[in-house]
Symmetry: C2
């Protein structure tokens, strides 16, 4: 079953808005076994938009558009579809009920302009908008099914899950499923990871396997196609066992959860607390840890010791250690972590000190070199990484790795 | 002059990659006065891709594609274009020189596969790739100019600026310019900002004006079209004067520079230093300040006082103040800033304490309430904001506002 996605809106042609709707819809439809053959973007121009709809009907079974369902004169998608399939626009009571229902909920009267949102091509079905005003529209015409969705991502996604998926299922039946397992692999070079999984990479067909470089980790993704989710899982499970067996603790997490959630879960289970001492990441580790609502249960806070003076005075890193080894060193990373644990009075502490660049590198300590310290009941350990990318990449990668090193320290008791 | 953008690559149809190339190209081309009428995405399928090229040639003067110029068998864009305009693929010595030049630079011999990158449609011109291997391709055919660019954003952008812009200029002459001034407006409600600028909003044609809600500020953008950049500036300058005159210090910055750069510049000029005390932002203010390379000149560090215990013990916030007013209060925000200034031994300090949500709100202190403290030689002040959005939005907005409040404290001497 071939789908074409049409994005409408002049803001897309101007480049002011990055088209995230289309990648999201493509991912969701691919998971359901549909094939996307084309994506088109067209502005709020009736003639051009009608041509795009007509062309799509010749090369796809299902045409899904986003945008142009609002109440203004610039919202023309309903009218353009009606024209391009030769049907009149008619008042649709079900759509009007949807519009009324929205304004009832927010205790306002229906504005005159919103009546437009209930004027649909003859024979259209209405999709409930769980977030905003404009109802979605489904029209069957000849061999083609047209589905018109609103442009705001929250409305589009809600409507897709609540209404479009059930509609596609009842209308076209299951198309099979495509499903993936995704792992975050930490503390390994790409070339070593590739060698570890070379037999899978060489012999892939179903499942397939992909390695993607991310900030601070490498994503391994295995994907299978099958008639049912159960059958897809049966294809994936032997590969899952191989990945976990060969990579062990380097599988930091299942990518459906973030590293900060993974670590937070362990800290909650352990009834323990953590503090941070950050130099090159300068607050980013603390920010990540507190992305998780409820993180105040285990994260007490920390020190951003961007200057050596703060490292010495607040974290108690000895001045002669800073002079002898430099701020970016194993010794200072450990002392920073120990200092943070004392300041925060926590079970564990983690530190970062490195060279984020673009300046400040040297042959011995190049840009991207980061030392991490982790301390807790099992003593103090240090880790070193040579990270790549620009300043932002290096800092993001370092913060992610800091969380991973605490996680392994806790789960492997001091390793 | 009408341009159509074609993005090739099955990863786009799968939704694994968000198509940022197309919005970037659209913005750049619009600035040069070109009109984008359509954008199309097609996978690595020769027949479908050829149809997309043929259609584009019927509705655009210039067709620009991205992707599919690499050395693998899946890189088919050169061949598809040749087929669709009925020209043979021939070995192109200039392209081969480009490929060789790249491998010379990295001291490797040219791989056999890379010979493909020099096999171009007959009559093609070559565009230098300043970053990677694959040269770009220009083919004039009838009324249509085809420009094939590589898919990796760094290569595509470099080639566009270095080669495509000069090519378009010499081939088609100036198309006029579209240029904007963009301001970050802080510490004002949208409705008040709209009222302040209502006469401009109502009477816009050239320039136009737009208000866009961002995290921690509102973007005001005024845009003019003219034959030359100078003429566009002449149209914009009277509006620029109005915006600055009516909004004064609320114009926090020109949006070509970030708030952290704007503040960093003032701190450097002032030869002064700053420290931070963060609760709800939990490190994000420190992270933003150090986005700027060289920020170690003025940012000494700070305390992430996520728990009340750290607020009390490390920052010296009196326990009875925490008990009486609560952590999210004017009093505690001021005491945190003063504590950070003492810990960091800095000229200025800034603090944040608020409710990022989703939990923790109450009728008196709802989710989104944030107090800021700023201290320095002119005494200690506090600011309050009621921020909207999810946890991440509220934290990003709060960090941005914290930087703005320090900036106005310094530039307005304690306001």
């Amino acid at each position: 079953m071939i789908v074409e996605l049409i994005s409408t809106g002049s803001e897309l042609l101007l480049g002011d808005t990055v088209n995230t709707n289309v990648s999201w819809l493509a991912q969701e439809l691919n998971k359901l076994g549909y094939t996307i053959a084309h994506q088109s973007v067209v502005g709020d121009n009736p003639k051009r938009m009608a041509e795009v709809f007509q062309l799509a009907s010749t090369r796809a079974d299902i045409v899904i558009s986003t945008g142009g369902l609002g109440p203004t004169q610039g919202d023309i998608t309903r009218n353009v579809l009606a024209d391009s399939i030769g049907r009149p626009i008619v008042f649709n009571q079900e759509a009007m009920d949807e519009v009324k229902h929205f304004f009832d909920r927010v205790k306002r009267t229906v504005p005159d302009a919103s009546r437009r949102e209930a004027e649909l091509p003859e024979g259209a079905n209405v999709l409930h908008n769980p977030v905003g005003v404009a109802p979605g529209v489904v029209v069957e015409d000849g061999d083609t099914t047209y589905i018109l969705l609103p442009g705001p991502p929250g409305e589009m996604k809600g409507m897709f899950h609540d209404s479009v998926v059930p509609y596609l299922m009842s209308r076209f039946g299951s198309q099979g499923v495509v499903t993936s397992y995704r792992y975050g692999i930490y503390d390994i070079r790409e070339i070593d990871l590739e060698n570890t999984l070379m037999d899978l990479i060489k012999n892939q067909s179903n499942p397939t396997i992909a390695l993607l470089i991310k900030k601070g980790y490498i994503e391994v993704r295995i994907t299978a196609k099958a008639d049912t989710l159960e059958a897809a899982h049966e294809l994936l499970n032997p590969w899952d066992a191989i990945v976990r067996d060969r990579l062990g603790a380097r599988v930091g997490r299942d990518l459906t959860v973030s590293m900060e959630e993974t670590l937070g879960h362990v800290l909650l289970e352990d009834h323990s607390t953590i503090s941070t001492a950050e130099s090159c990441t300068s607050g980013l580790v603390g920010k990540l840890l507190t992305n998780v609502s409820g993180s105040s249960e285990y994260y007490m806070g920390g020190v951003i010791s961007y200057s050596n003076d703060v490292k010495h005075r607040v974290l108690g890193v000895p001045q002669d250690m800073l002079d002898t080894y430099g701020a970016v060193s194993e010794q200072v990373a450990k002392a920073m972590a120990e200092g943070a644990r004392t300041v925060g009075q926590t079970t564990y502490a983690v530190s970062t000190t490195g060279i984020a660049g673009p300046g400040g590198g040297s042959p011995e300590k190049p840009v991207g070199l980061v030392w991490f310290g982790v301390t807790g009941p099992h003593g103090t350990v240090a880790h070193k990484a040579n990270l790549i990318g620009n300043r932002e990449d290096i800092r993001q990668s370092a913060a992610e790795l800091a969380l991973y090193y605490v996680y392994t320290y806790i789960t492997e008791k001091g390793k």
